[in-house]
Each structure stands twice: as C-alpha cells, then as structure tokens.
C-alpha cells in the first residue's frame, strides 16, 4: 500500500504540517509544474523526490540524480505502481 502525492506549486501553497504527517516513508512524491522550482523545500517531505523532466527542463532546472527524472510514460507507470494518488 502506497500513495502517490502530486504537487504543482512550491511548498508554501500547502499545509506543510499536514503533509509532513500524512506522507509515509513508502509513499512517492511527484513534483510537476512550479513545484519543480522547490526541490529543496520538498526534500523535508521525502528524500526520494520524482520530478517530471519536461516541466523541470522548461524552467531550466537541473535534476541532479537521473533516477529522480520522470517521463510521461514513467508518470503513467507510477500511477499504476501505487495504490492511489492525491493531487494536492
């Protein structure tokens, strides 16, 4: 059982306290859109962040660890590999 947590804005848009308590170690955290700017902020929620490569690229953001970079095919596969998703 694991949840896919999807974010599209920097962390300040969300209730950090709630997220810190609801995101489990086995869960996946995916950053889309303007959330890609805030990789450092989201690291407090999960060490292994997944980042949509297209969205990072247009924002001139370098993804340091290659295994954190996701294509749309990977995104679809990720929704299937988790029990359910929450688009915050």
């Amino acid at each position: 059982m694991s949840t896919l947590h999807i974010f599209s804005k920097p962390l300040g848009y969300y209730n950090t306290d709630q997220l810190v308590n609801l995101i489990q170690p086995t869960d996946k955290v995916l950053l889309l859109s303007d959330a890609c700017f805030a990789i450092a902020q989201f690291r407090q929620l999960a060490t292994h962040l997944l980042i949509l490569a297209d969205d990072a690229k247009v924002r001139d953001i370098t993804i340091n660890q290659p295994d954190h970079s996701l294509s749309y095919d990977d995104f679809v596969a990720l929704t299937l590999a988790t029990s359910h998703s929450i688009t915050w």
Binding site: D17, Q18, N21, L22, Q24, S83, H84, S85
Partner: protein, 118 residues
Amino acid sequence: MINVLVLSHHSPFDDLHIRDALDMTLIFAAVEQNISWLFSGPAVLALKKHQQPEHIGLKNYFKTIRTLEIYDVENIYVCEKSLLEYGLDKHNLLVEVKALNYQQQNQLIAQQQHIVNL
C-alpha cells in the same frame, strides 16, 4: 463497492470548493459506493453550526450538509488538530463527525481506492 475519499481543505466561502466536494460526496453515496469525507484546516469551518449566509443573499449550503445523515453518509471525518486551531469542538458542529489524529487519517487514506481533493 469501493472506498472513495473526498478531501476538503478550503474555507467555507473560498469559491465553490466545499459545495463541489458536497456534491461529489452525495453522488458517490447515491451510486452506492462507500464514500468518506475528510475536512482539514479551514474546511472544518464549513461544519460550524448556526451560519446564515442567506442574510447576505448567498445560498445556504449548510442545510444540504445536514442532509448527509439522511442520505446515509456516515463517514464524515475532521482533522482533530484543525478543530482545535479554529476553536471548535464536536458540539459546535452541524452533523456528527469522527475527529481523527494524523495516524488515523493515514489509516483512512490507506483503505481507499480513489482519493479526490476538491
């Protein structure tokens, strides 16, 4: 029958967020799925008793929230911490709810097939 969870965390008159969540909750009950609704943050204020928006020309959707019990929507949950933050307790609320700590919220989430955040 599947488990579906509606999440709300917007304040009562922040656009139509709570009303959209209410409609979604009622319809999943109508199509006989096991629906739950979890209120967090300022969304808990949508459950506060004695609100009368019709006095300023706004639709009183709180009346519809009270019908949840009639339509057998029994799984109404609130974040325990959020109730405290807004100075509310169960006696100030429109309907009967279960207050959950974060661990209980995690258990609720783990049981769901679909989760929709409105």
